[in-house]
């Protein structure tokens, strides 16, 4: 049987990979993918506590479904923005998307 710690560790590792990717990768698509990783890490946490938490209940699973839905929507919107950005600036590099500076 797999212990709670192992689920949580997996989630933590996933989250850190996602965070690292989101903060360091130059390609916007990779950044978006990294964000998905982080969301999934959160999902694992939610499911873990839904099963092994102090007060196990169905809420965690329901919430995961919500997160997945939102993640899907977010990817759709994110990709749309990405395409728009690409058209405007001719690049998918994050560093070039700095229109909001001073």
């Amino acid at each position: 049987m797999i212990a709670v710690e192992q689920y949580l560790t997996l989630a933590a590792i996933l989250f850190c990979i996602g965070l690292f990717g989101a903060l360091t990768k130059r390609n916007i698509i990779i950044v978006l993918v990294s964000i998905e990783l982080m969301l999934n890490a959160v999902n694992i946490n939610l499911l873990t506590f839904a099963r092994y938490g102090l007060a196990p209940s169905i809420n965690g699973q329901v919430f995961t479904l919500f997160t997945m839905t939102i993640a899907a929507a977010e990817v759709a919107v994110g990709l749309a923005i990405l395409i728009s950005l690409y058209r405007n600036r001719n690049s998918s590099d994050v560093r070039d998307q700095d229109l909001m500076k001073w």
Partner: protein, 634 residues
């Protein structure tokens, strides 16, 4: 009739309002008629009031509610006493003649109606001041009198000197008014009333109390503060500087200001509030000294002035000094008597001067006059009468009243004041006859053309001169053995104020001799020319001459000691206001702007940088909270 005393100021007020409505296009004849009739009606009512007071004694006050302040009431009203009945007659009499005279003098001026409006308002204000039964109402009219003098002195507004003189008159008298204002407010604070009667009662019963000062000191303080108002209004030293400058106004205005309305107000105030002053010997001493200084000081300046109106103006200051000095030595009757006689002969002198000025095309410099006796006989005669009255030669009006004042000064035991008064009397006789000789005798020193065209003015101008001339001769007899000291008995209807001094033949002789000496010296210097005036002015006496000619440099002194420092303080404060008070505010704004100029570079648009900083921040926050909550990171 006495209960209708309000009619006296009411008539000029109505005239003022009517003239205001009529506007600028009204005909000069109608305007003059209206104003003169109003003033004349006031004069008639005043005469009947005077006779009733003589028969039945003072009456009033008649009081009406004006304003409730919390739990106490302020009222307005009027009253009739012997003093103000006398003043009403004098003011309306002189005013009527001045209004008449102005018809000729101001003939053809574009703002003729405006001039009459102002004159009517001026007369209304003065009459209102006279019948006021309380200090507040008196102060209200007091200020209105000041306003009218401002308007009239600055009547020829396009002349910068006139504007400056008007402003100076208003501001200098207002400095005095400040003292008066504080004085009456303090009286009210101490007694809860502005009414003269209430205030006098409080003084008699020793209840003019205030918790931070003893009764006696407080009375002295209040008396002196009120007197400061009189100093400003009656042009006493050191606030006398506005009066000579006020000569920039049209001459009828000068006559009104000097004889009946403006400057008389100060002396009237001290006389009306005399019980207050009597309660404080210290205040009386101050008044006597100020009056004495003013009398001699102005007389000395008058010796050397070349403007006919200015000489007469300085004589006014000097004569007012006499009146104030008389009040200071408790010669109440003498002072009010001189106030009356002076009104007649000073109005006469000014109107006569006005007649001269009018005849020779508004030239006022006596060095450019001469020989006008032949051209202006009526003016010449009346001026001579006025000059004799002013010099105190019997039996003219000034003799009787001035004589009483000198007696009062001597008998009060203050010999210095008496000597000062005597010297001033000598100077007065000298300078007024200097003007007389230079103006009416010898050869004309101006342009010949002007002299040829000079002629006596019409009857509107000569009639007032003649009437005033008659008064200047006979008014003095009112308080003489001839009439059994009628004036004194009349004034005593108000109660025995001040002290009465026995007239003495010796005093009469002395003052007459002094007057004659002055006239004689003037004759020698300016008529027979046996003493060379020029040589005296340029000889060893030159420093003294310059001192007198430049009015003891008082104007310059005030300019450098008061005006310049105040303006500099104001400039410095303005600098402080702009660069420090507002500067700090603007610096704060600028500081915000400048710091954001630097900080904006942290906003580099790189999402990943933001993310990293957010991460670090979160970690830091968690660390801190762990440290705080658990007491350390395990």
């Amino acid at each position: 009739m006495v209960e209708y005393a309000w009619l006296v100021p009411f008539f000029p007020l109505v005239a003022y309002l009517l003239l205001f409505v009529l506007g600028r296009r009204a005909q000069e004849g109608i305007v003059t008629t209206l104003a003169v009739l109003a003033s004349l009606a006031g004069f008639v009512v005043s005469l009947s009031i005077l006779s009733q007071v003589h028969a039945n004694g003072p009456s009033g006050p008649y009081i009406f509610h004006w304003l409730t302040v919390g739990s106490f009431d302020l009222s307005v009203g009027y009253e009739v006493t012997a003093l103000n009945a006398m003043m009403l007659v004098v003011v309306t009499f002189v005013s009527t003649l001045v209004l008449l005279f102005s018809k000729g003098y101001m003939n053809g001026d574009k703002r003729f109606v405006v001039f009459y409006q102002y004159l009517c308002l001026f007369i209304f204000s003065m009459l209102g001041l006279v019948i006021s039964p309380n200090l507040l109402q008196m102060y209200i009219f007091w200020e209105l009198v000041g306003l009218c003098s401002f308007l009239l002195v600055g009547f020829w507004y396009f002349k910068p000197e006139a504007a400056a003189a008007a402003k100076k008159a208003f501001i200098v008298t207002r400095i005095g008014d400040l003292g008066l204002f504080i004085g009456i407010v303090l009286v009210f604070v101490a007694t809860g009333t502005f009414e003269y009667s209430g205030v006098f009662q409080a003084i008699q019963s020793g209840q003019l109390n205030i918790d931070w000062m003893s009764h006696d000191n407080f009375v002295t303080l209040v008396a002196i503060l009120i007197f400061v108002g009189a100093i400003g209004k009656s042009a006493q030293f050191p606030l006398h500087t506005w009066l000579p400058d006020a000569m920039e106004g049209p001459t009828p205005v000068s006559a009104l200001i000097h004889a009946a309305t403006m400057v008389a107000a100060g002396v009237y105030l001290v006389a009306r509030a005399f019980p207050l002053f009597e309660a404080s010997p210290d205040a009386l001493t101050v008044i006597a000294i100020i009056g004495g200084i003013t009398a001699i000081f102005a007389a000395l300046i008058g010796l050397t002035q070349n403007d006919i109106k200015r000489v007469v103006a300085y004589s006014t200051i000097s004569q007012l000094g006499y009146m104030v000095m008389a009040l200071g030595v408790s010669a109440y009757v003498a002072s009010t008597f001189h106030l009356m006689t002076h009104a007649f002969f000073k109005a006469l002198l000014f109107l006569a001067a006005g007649s001269v000025i009018h005849a020779i095309h508004h030239n006022q410099d006596i060095r450019k006059m001469g020989g006008l006796w032949k051209k202006l006989p009526i003016t010449g005669w009346t001026f001579l009468i006025g000059a004799l009255a002013l010099s105190g030669i019997p039996p003219f009006a000034g003799f009787w009243s001035k004589d009483e004042i000198l007696t009062g000064a001597l008998q009060s035991g203050n010999t210095t004041l008496f000597v000062l008064g005597l010297i001033a009397a000598f100077c007065t006789a000298f300078y007024i006859f200097r003007v007389f000789f230079l103006t009416f005798t010898g050869e004309f020193r101006g342009e010949k053309d002007v002299y040829d065209h000079a002629h006596e003015s019409g009857s509107v101008m000569t009639l007032p001169l003649v009437l005033l001339g008659i008064m200047a001769i006979i008014a003095g007899l009112l308080n003489s053995p001839v009439t059994g000291y009628a004036f004194e008995h009349f004034m005593h209807l108000d109660g025995e104020l001040g002290q009465v001094h026995e007239p003495s033949i010796g005093m009469m002789g002395l003052s007459t001799v002094v007057g004659l000496l002055g006239i004689g010296l003037a004759y020698l210097m300016y008529k027979s020319k046996s003493i060379n005036a020029e040589a005296m002015a340029n000889g060893p006496l030159r420093p003294l001459y310059l001192l007198s000619f430049n009015k003891f440099y008082i104007d310059e002194l005030y300019h450098y000691v008061i005006v310049v420092p105040v303006v500099w303080i104001a400039r410095i404060l303005n600098f402080v206001d702009h660069w420090i008070v507002d500067g700090i505010v603007r610096a704060l704004g600028e500081a915000g702007y400048v710091s954001s100029l630097g900080l904006k570079y942290s906003q580099n648009g790189q999402v990943q940088t933001y993310g990293l900083i957010t991460l670090l921040g979160t970690v830091l926050l968690i660390g801190i909270s762990l440290y705080v909550v658990i007491g350390g990171i395990y």
